[in-house]
Amino acid sequence: MTHALFTVVGLVVVGGGLYLLVRGPASLRAGVAVLGLVLLISGAWYGLSVAPPDREMGNVQRIMYVHVPAQWMALMAVTLNFFCSVAYLFRPGWAKDALAEASAEVGLFFGAVGLVLGSIWGKPTWGVYWSWDPRLTSEAILLVAYAGYLALRRFIDDAERRAVWSAVVGIIIAVDIPIIWFSVRWWRSLHQMQSSPSTVDPDMVRALRWNAFAFLALWLVFLSSRYLIARARTQREVAPPPLAAEVAT
């Protein structure tokens, strides 16, 4: 019940925040960006100096305070891409297409950062930077797929065809999302399973959540900014500005 309540409140906050950032003035985005920066700096201080070292991993565990939020943001973005793709096919609209493009790029960015951070953590913990573990492999497949998705969007000149094709590809790629999430439970391989706040030090939970909120603020700013870029491009394509000669007459 509590989980469901948190999910609903979270969705309202994220959805409402995104709506306000897209519709609101640039100063609002700048304000949230500053908030994200302050949270990021203070979160780093908390994670690096206040939170205790892990019993097994020592100080290396502190990488989790940036690795995990980066992966959460990536999964949120690609899930949003899936919903935008489905929504577009049911009822086409340029806003949905622009949000799909924005979420794909932001998801690829956070996913790539998260993967590299996980790799840095893997070297002292597992002894290797990379392993063909199901979690890592499915995540790598997702990133390659989204790189392809963005490349596809660049190759197709016709805006309507681009929106339909990328919506279909977005839905196909989304099959990988539950595989990534459940891979650690289904295959029980090298990558650890999701941990519970009840089994770790409260300072560790605080450091993780602090950084997660910092990443969430930046995620909202990045997504809304990228949405506006995509929207402006589509508007130029669909309704090109009049020629200078036309304006003169």
Binding site: A33, L40, L48, P124, F222, S225
Partner: protein, 45 residues
């Protein structure tokens, strides 16, 4: 010895990995923010 391990962790040191990870995160976030700034829509003259 056991107490020391419990305080510092089984993996000793590792701060170079931690700083590399945090530095990379900050750098990547800054670069992406900059790329969005460069691509921002401008009003037609």
């Amino acid at each position: 010895m056991t107490l020391l391990l419990a305080e510092a962790g089984r993996i000793q040191g590792g701060w170079n990995y931690v700083w590399t990870a945090y530095g990379l995160t900050w750098g990547a976030l800054a670069l992406y923010a900059w790329s969005l700034w460069l691509r921002r829509p401008r009003k037609e003259p």
